[in-house]
């Protein structure tokens, strides 16, 4: 067995991933631009961990997850999957590598073929990639159904006969069929009600423990990501703005966007809920026409002139914490009037984030 605990190795390395969708317009269907759904994303997913990918609707989370699995032909970038470069492979070459990477989809209704019985749906990966006999396949399908908590007796029913939670279990069983290492969970709980969400998330955690799976968990539900993820990446308009271990990110968000996002999470305790909220104004700019400089500069409460000029680089501000923001750029931190990352990292969440922002807002 590989010991994943002592020295976590990156199972997936994504570097500068870009996925641009062309826009055609006019009488001659000429290419007039492109939607930069994912625009230069880099991250690692360690073996055995769960990387949460959060962000608001339309920020490119799902596209990012699908691009990592090469369900799209990506525009640029490299994807190192388990030591294999898959960024530039053709779909035909990818076929043999598909078993290591699988996906659980958002809408359990739409992700199952309504004309296939459950057993055939779960069996499809086995049909494609294994040479098992019919009986062996059947046995494997039933084992998978047990593993995800589906009653074996329902193997020959059709998807419409199941509830949303059960359908999602079918989707998970299908993803597990080939013993993958890496699973992209594309908002697997967004279409389920709360009680079922907990069941499905617990199931995903149990399976991770049992089979040593690695997840890229895409969600807009910050509290659910806090529950399941080991590290969290925050996306805004096709970029990752902050990537940090879960505890650090939730205790002390660095990027102004992360702060705004976290302050939008409802707080059940009314006393704590009294804290000041960061309310963003305006809309997300169109990914077809992102603003010059930092993507967030149109809505950022701590915007500086430089933000409108240059794109902030992603830098590691403390071990394992990456943030793409000029507030943390060396030239500003060195000048001494920056929100001193080391300070806030050292003292935990004691310094008010709002205060830091205000300070920064006055700095030219």
């Amino acid at each position: 067995m590989r010991d994943t605990m002592d020295a976590p190795q990156p199972l997936v390395q994504v570097r500068d991933l870009k996925m641009h969708f062309p826009i055609y317009a006019g009488l001659l269907r000429r290419r007039v631009g492109e939607v930069k759904a994912v625009d230069g994303v880099s991250f690692d997913v360690m073996e055995g961990e769960t990387l949460g990918l959060v962000g608001e609707s339309g920020c490119g989370k799902s596209t990012c997850g699908r691009s990592v699995l090469r369900l799209y032909d990506i525009t640029a970038g490299s994807i190192l999957m388990d030591g294999d470069e898959i960024g530039a492979l053709s779909q035909g070459q990818l076929r043999t590598r598909r078993p290591t990477m699988q996906m659980v989809f958002q809408d359990p209704q739409a992700s199952l073929n309504p004309r296939m019985p459950v057993s055939a749906i779960i069996q499809e990966p086995l049909d494609e990639h294994t040479k098992l006999s019919k009986a062996e396949k059947r046995e494997k399908v039933l084992e998978l159904m047990d593993a995800v908590g589906l009653n074996r007796r329902f193997a020959n029913r059709f998807p419409h006969a199941f509830s949303g939670g059960q359908r999602q279990r079918i989707g998970i069983a299908r993803a597990l069929a080939l013993n993958p290492k890496f699973i992209v969970c594309d908002e697997p709980i967004a279409a389920l009600d709360v009680s079922i969400q907990a069941q499905v998330v617990n199931l995903l955690e149990d399976l991770q423990e049992k089979f040593g799976l690695t997840y890229l968990f895409i969600s807009h539900d910050l509290s659910m990501v806090r529950h399941i993820a080991t590290r969290v990446a925050v996306m805004y308009l096709g970029r990752i703005v902050e990537l940090a271990p879960r505890e650090a990110l939730y205790a002390d968000p660095l990027h102004p966007y992360t702060k705004a996002l976290l302050s939008a999470v409802p707080e059940p305790d009314p006393e704590l809920a009294a804290k000041e909220r960061v309310i963003l104004t305006g809309d997300v700019p169109s990914p077809a026409n992102p603003p010059k400089g930092c993507n967030f500069c149109t809505r950022c409460p701590a915007v500086m002139p430089v933000c409108h000029e240059t794109d902030p680089e992603t830098r590691e501000v403390s071990p394992g914490r990456f943030v793409a923001c000029h507030l943390f750029a060396d030239e500003y931190t060195a000048a001494g009037h920056a929100p001193a990352v080391s300070q806030s990292a050292g003292q935990g969440a004691t310094s008010s984030p709002q205060e830091t922002l205000n300070q920064q807002g006055e700095t030219p």
């Binding site: 076929r95 598909r98 199952l112 990966p125 007796r153 193997a155 059709f158 419409h160 149990d206």
Partner: protein, 324 residues
């Protein structure tokens, strides 16, 4: 994968639970089909008419093309009910036409041809239409070319085109396959190749919509190649529109064949089909309405029956409807 999960939700059954045997899908489909009354009637009629034209001539052993001037213009037996003066003979139970040809034998013999032409042309049209529709919808690269070709064929005036095809190829085919088979092939191909466009358009539209569904993406993430993606995920889901256009296509083929025969470009004049019998009798319609009514009823009821069967099959093949 073999040891049972410990902290699973309570749904996981113990391994001793007997596995529900696979229910035969075809039995479910038949059960659902039977709940559609129109479809059952349609199937009944279709079986009846098929037996009528297939086995009928063996029992009612009369040459449909034989003229019998002495017994011409006979009325059917039931006219005796209200007109005891009617010309009638038991040799011609459904009467005879102006050349003394037996109407009953004509119906049987004509039905054979009409049904054969209808089914073959319909199958040809549906196969071509589905193929082009699926290819155009699934592979974006050839979509433009295929659909422009479809538009091109759609924009051709069909009847003149058919006439030209008949004139060009009739003699060659006749020489190669004999007069009847040659014309049969020509008519089937002509009708088939001029009526696949609607199917292609409908199928393409459905495939385009299906292609964006998540289960197709899921199949891609599994690594299913395109050909199996089409056969496993796309085709079963476009079955309904294909079924509908197939039923319409059968009706269309029978009617087009009648029109061709009427224009004198179909089968030779001594070769009965329902359409031709119908058109031959139009000038005597007022005096002898039964000569129009019987072939007309045959065409209408066959088309209606097939439509109902298609309706019932479409419901029966859809597991979502079947489940209720």
């Amino acid at each position: 994968m073999t040891d049972p999960m410990t902290n699973m939700p309570a749904m996981s059954p113990p391994r001793a639970v007997p596995i529900e045997k696979a229910r035969s899908q075809w039995r479910d489909i038949w059960a659902q089909f039977r709940t559609h009354k129109g479809a059952v009637w349609g199937l009944g009629f279709l079986i009846f008419i098929t037996l009528f034209v297939a086995i009928g001539p063996l029992i009612w052993d009369v040459d449909a093309t034989k003229t019998d001037i002495r017994n011409k213009n006979m009325r059917p037996f039931y006219t005796l009910l209200w007109d005891s003066e009617a010309r009638f003979t038991w040799v011609k139970p459904l009467g005879s036409d102006n050349l003394g040809r037996d109407v009953l034998a004509n119906l049987m013999q004509g039905g054979r041809t009409s049904m054969a032409v209808g089914w073959t042309a319909m199958i040809l049209a549906v196969v071509v239409g589905t193929l082009i529709g699926v290819l155009a919808g699934f592979f974006k690269r050839i979509d433009g070319a295929l659909m422009r070709f479809t538009d091109l064929v759609l924009s051709l005036p069909l009847l003149p085109l058919l006439l030209v095809m008949m004139l060009l190829f009739r003699d060659t085919l006749r020489a190669t396959f004999g007069p009847e088979t040659g014309i049969f092939i020509l008519i089937v191909v002509a009708i088939g190749l001029t009526s696949w466009m609607q199917t292609a358009r409908i199928v393409r539209g459905d495939v385009l919509a299906l292609k964006e569904r998540e289960f197709v993406l899921a199949a891609r993430s599994i690594g299913t190649p395109s050909r199996r993606m089409i056969s496993r995920h796309i085709l079963p889901n476009v079955l309904s529109p294909i079924m509908v256009s197939a039923t319409l296509g059968l009706a269309n083929a029978i009617i087009t064949e009648s029109a061709l025969s009427f224009l004198g470009l179909g089968f030779p004049s001594d070769f009965p089909t329902w359409g031709k019998t119908l058109f031959d009798s139009i000038q005597y319609m007022e005096e002898y309405p039964e000569r129009v009514i019987w072939p007309g009823l045959c065409i209408s009821f066959t088309v209606l029956a097939v439509n109902y069967i298609g309706d019932g099959l479409r419901d029966a093949l859809d597991p979502r409807i079947r489940g209720q």
